[in-house]
């Protein structure tokens, strides 16, 4: 049965509803610029009608709830895209750093140093007796070794930086997991009580977004409002209602790999920034390990080839004493199995002893048989040469000639001198340890530009044959099993890193686009449009005004009824 008070009730419900809607709209406007905010709508429903014989009579409006507008499917898509993007960006950043360390192509990188070293060697060949040319070879050699060292150190430093970044990202992941677990608890309490914790859900979604950028996860929302999160790929639960697992990162005990662990158990990660960083750190086919391996291979090639020639050559004068730079693990073991970084092969070398005038006083041949000859055997053979003393101490061979006399090696076909680091040009066994040998640094006259005659041992200061052979190593097909020169090898390394960087840049650009598109889809649903909110504002304003007008009309009617009828 209709009544004036009934009308008042309807108007009142409308006043409340529009007031609530206005507040929600103003909240939307207030949060329009905030990332992660989902616009909210007041769900209005018609109040249950009163059934009259003439039909149903409306009783006003009621607020069903305040709802957050969110598309779960778009969320999932966004997070997947963001995992891929996170991984790609970390990988690209790693590659860009590696590329930057090499800094090629340029006029001042390793390639230029190598070219200048070879040029200095040619100049030495042009004037082998000239001390200036010798000093220049030494300086250029030191710059070359320095470049190898710098690049390798920078790569190692980058490796360390990536490791600390992994640790920092793991820390972020742990914080996010902890926060999500805490929110789970709060949300659960409100949902169980029948409420809608919109703000908390927004917060949790934002955390989940952040998490997915760092690491690939799967998530599932339960009916009690909690979000359970698992690690994609490696398995393992990260968040279960209010408990969060803790990740940790450390160097593997068994290999040179960095690992992610859940509660002490190693697990694998399949996406996100962490995966990208792990790839940059661990992947041996690209990134840091590839670059370092390539540098080591190149450095070893350069060291071995120059030392081979230096060992069988001679400087402006013979040697007086010499200690091998590379120690063997066991002087009684065969040289091929004594832990030398470069392995000797079956062959022999000659040794000549000269008197003060440069005339040969004695000569001998040392024969090395792979798998048999030990350092001690070699010392014995060398001791057999009159005027030469060979001793073994600490795995190193020391040779010296008597007062006033000198000695020299020739025609080493066994590589044993280069392997032991006897009369070497470069010391060291990889890019990090490479340096111009101390003997050459102390006295450039020891740079072997000449070659002693293999049968008579005679040598002369104007002989440039060894210097020329060293200079011609530039064109030697030495690397990759005789398929590439030093230059080719380095250029192809730069090419590989360059093309990976280029590919990663392209993939990243397109992934960025994908992420933007998916994010736009999300924004379509959850984003605040100010124009829309304005329209709503006006709509609810008018509803409010109209309802107020209704109350005024009812007031007039009541006035008519109460005062008019009584008069």
């Amino acid at each position: 049965m209709s009544s004036l008070f009934g009308i008042l009730g309807v108007a009142k419900s409308a006043l409340f509803a529009s007031q609530l809607a206005l507040q929600t709209t103003s909240n939307n406007v207030a949060n329009a610029g905030r990332r992660g905010y989902s616009r909210q709508r007041v769900d209005l429903k018609e109040s249950p009608p009163e059934t009259l014989p003439v039909g149903q009579l409306g009783t006003g409006v009621r607020v069903d709830g305040i709802r957050r507008l969110r598309d779960q499917f778009a969320d999932t898509q966004f997070r997947q895209a963001s995992q891929t993007l996170g991984q790609g960006e970390a990988e690209l950043s790693g590659l860009r750093q590696i590329q930057g360390i090499f800094g090629e192509p340029s006029d001042s990188g390793l390639q230029a140093s190598l070219a200048e070293f070879f040029a200095a060697m040619q100049e030495l060949a042009n004037d082998p007796a000239d001390p200036t040319a010798r000093t220049d070879v030494k300086e250029r050699g030191m710059i070359l070794a320095g470049d190898f060292h710098r690049i390798q150190s920078d790569l190692t430093l980058t490796k360390r930086n990536v490791e600390s970044e992994i640790v920092a990202r793991v820390g972020e992941v742990n914080t996010l997991l902890q926060q999500i677990a805490t929110l789970n608890g709060q949300i659960q309490a409100i949902v169980v009580a029948g409420g809608s914790p919109n703000e908390l859900l927004d917060q949790r979604d934002e955390l989940a977004d952040g998490l997915s950028r760092l690491v690939a996860v799967t998530s599932r929302q339960r009916s009690d409002g909690t979000l359970s999160i698992g690690l994609l790929g490696g398995g393992g639960t990260l968040v279960d209602t209010t408990t969060a697992a803790q990740l940790s990162a450390r160097l593997s005990a068994t290999s040179d790999d960095y690992q992610i662990l859940i509660g002490g158990t190693a697990t694998s990660v399949s996406g996100g920034e962490l995966k990208g960083l792990l790839n940059v750190r661990n992947d041996p086919t690209s990134y840091l390990k590839y670059a370092q391996d390539q540098m080591d291979t190149l450095a070893r090639g350069v060291i071995l080839e120059f030392n081979r020639l230096q060992a069988s050559g001679i400087g402006l004068q013979g040697l007086t004493s010499l200690t091998s730079e590379n120690a063997v693990s066991d002087p009684a073991a065969a040289l091929t199995a004594a832990g030398l970084s470069f392995t000797p092969k079956t062959g022999s070398f000659k040794v000549f002893v000269y008197d003060g005038t440069g005339a040969v006083t004695a000569s001998g041949t040392a024969t090395i048989t792979a798998g048999t000859t030990s350092l001690n055997d070699m010392a014995t053979a060398l001791n057999g040469v009159a005027g030469l003393t060979a001793t073994v101490s600490g795995g190193r061979l020391t040779l010296s000639s008597g007062a006033g006399s000198t000695f020299a090696f020739a025609a080493d076909t066994s590589d044993s001198l280069a392997a032991l680091g006897l009369h070497s040009f470069f010391s060291g066994t990889n890019a990090q340890s490479m340096a111009v040998s101390a003997a050459i640094q102390a006295d450039v006259r020891t740079i072997a530009a000449a070659t002693p005659d293999a049968s008579t041992g005679a040598f002369s200061p104007g002989d440039n044959s060894t210097a020329l052979a060293m200079a011609q190593l530039r064109e030697g097909l030495i690397m990759q099993g005789g398929a590439a020169t030093f230059d080719d090898f380095f250029a192809s390394t730069i090419g590989v890193i360059g093309s990976r960087t280029q590919a990663a840049t392209r993939v990243n650009e397109s992934q960025q686009l994908v992420t933007t598109t998916v994010d736009n889809r999300r924004q379509e649903v959850s984003g605040v449009s100010l124009d829309e909110e304005m329209a709503d504002l006006i709509q609810f304003q008018h509803t409010f005004e109209a309802s107020a007008r209704v109350i005024q009309v009812v007031d007039d009617l009541l006035d008519t009824v109460v005062n008019g009828l009584l008069r």
Partner: protein, 412 residues
């Protein structure tokens, strides 16, 4: 599609960023003049460019090697240019000396002149390029030839001219000088330079033979031997020396025992360590050229120039015209030897020129290739830059118009 405000601002921001990053890249290209700034800009081009840079560095070094070889060869050529006329002059002297009309006195003057040329030749053999001896092979720090010089008195003296026979009177022995009755003084010195014995040897025309002379000298304490070739060789006692002076008979000059002059070069020997080593310079990839002319090629190949000049000098002093004439053949052969060495230098310099031509052409080609890979096309980049600038301004304007209006502007 529902468009929200944050979508709009995001879009505008993204567009501006994109435009700016393209602008920045173009700006870097314009500033550096290079299109290839990082390997990832063009990985294939980058490795190619590195190969080309290495190739350029190597070729430029080959050019320097060629220059160095040319410098050395030119220096050797200059030395040879001095040796050629020297030999011509010496030949002139030899011809003059071989002429029968000249006398012993004139030949002695010619001998002095030849001796000067011998000294000059020895000096030339020690020509240097920087600190390096040019003709020392690879023994660049040791003089290729060293001379043995006479002391103040002879220790041994070999007669240059042969007599008809050991028992023939000297004035009838067909010697190239008249022998008359007379004599000469002999003094013998010990190692300390003190006279230990002295005396006089007399020569009688028509009587004194080579054997008589040897006997007389032996009696004074000298070793005197008549060789199978009828030449007299006189030797001082061990460690000692001797002089033969005041010859009034002419026998000493006739026998060619007058060739000794204190301080003159008696022999020239090559560095025993060997002077034939070659110094190879790489002038093209894998192509080497010897940058030096070895001593034997010039001075002592088929003809020993020093020995030829020494013989000529002594023959002139000994007044021995057949021996003087004989050196003409050696001198001609020597000139040929020097010419051959000169020709070899010329040939090598031609090879060097050819190699330099190849290198120059090569370098131009490689540098152009590198420029095509690495360098930015300035005109095109400038146009790109301007176009991108317009895009940037347009996106700014569009952004400004897109964000600005809102329903609020039209209410009230």
């Amino acid at each position: 599609m529902r468009v929200t405000n944050s979508m709009l601002t995001d879009l505008v921001q993204r567009n501006i960023n994109q435009s700016l990053s393209v602008l920045q890249k173009l700006q870097m290209r314009l500033a550096s003049g290079k299109a290839l700034l990082e390997a990832s800009d063009d990985p294939v081009g980058a490795s190619l460019a590195m190969g080309l840079r290495a190739a350029i560095a190597a070729r430029e070094q080959f050019q320097r090697n060629g220059d160095s070889a040319r410098d050395r060869l030119s220096a050797a050529e200059k030395a040879l240019d001095n040796i050629q006329p020297l030999l011509v002059d010496v030949r002139g002297l030899a011809v003059k000396g071989a002429d029968d009309t000249g006398g012993a006195e004139q030949r002695s003057i010619l001998a002095d002149q030849v001796n000067q040329f011998l000294e000059a030749l020895l000096d030339l053999s020690m020509s240097r390029f920087g600190d390096d001896y040019l003709f020392g092979g690879t023994e660049v720090r040791t003089a290729p030839y060293t001379a043995t010089r006479n002391g103040s008195r002879p220790t041994t003296l070999a007669g240059f001219n042969a007599a008809a026979g050991p028992a023939v009177a000297l004035d009838a022995a067909g010697l190239p000088g008249a022998v008359t009755t007379g004599g000469f003084s002999v003094s013998i010195y010990n190692a300390a330079g003190a006279v230990t014995s002295s005396g006089t040897v007399t020569v009688t025309a028509g009587a004194t033979t080579l054997n008589d002379l040897a006997t007389a000298l032996s009696a004074l304490g000298l070793g005197a031997v008549v060789g199978g070739d009828n030449r007299l060789t006189i030797t001082a006692p061990a460690g000692g020396s001797f002089t033969l002076t005041n010859d009034t008979s002419g026998a000493l000059a006739a026998l060619g025992l007058n060739t000794f002059t204190p301080g003159e070069i008696s022999a020239v020997a090559a560095n025993p360590k060997g002077i034939s080593g070659q110094q190879l310079h790489e002038i093209l990839s894998g192509v080497t050229i010897a940058a030096n002319v070895t001593g034997p090629e010039v001075f002592a190949g088929s003809v020993d120039l020093f020995q030829t000049l020494i013989t000529l000098r002594d023959a002139l002093r000994a007044n021995n015209t057949p021996a003087i004439s004989a050196t003409l053949t050696s001198l001609d052969a020597g000139t040929g030897q020097v010419s051959a060495a000169n020709g070899s230098i010329g040939g090598r310099i031609q090879r060097l020129d050819a190699a330099q031509d190849i290198l120059t052409a090569d370098l131009m080609r490689v540098k152009e290739l590198l420029s095509r890979i690495e360098d930015a096309d300035i005109a095109e980049t400038t146009l790109d830059f301007q176009r991108q600038q317009q895009v940037f301004e347009a996106s700014l304007q569009a952004g400004a118009r897109l964000i600005q209006p809102s329903l609020l502007d039209f209410l009230r």
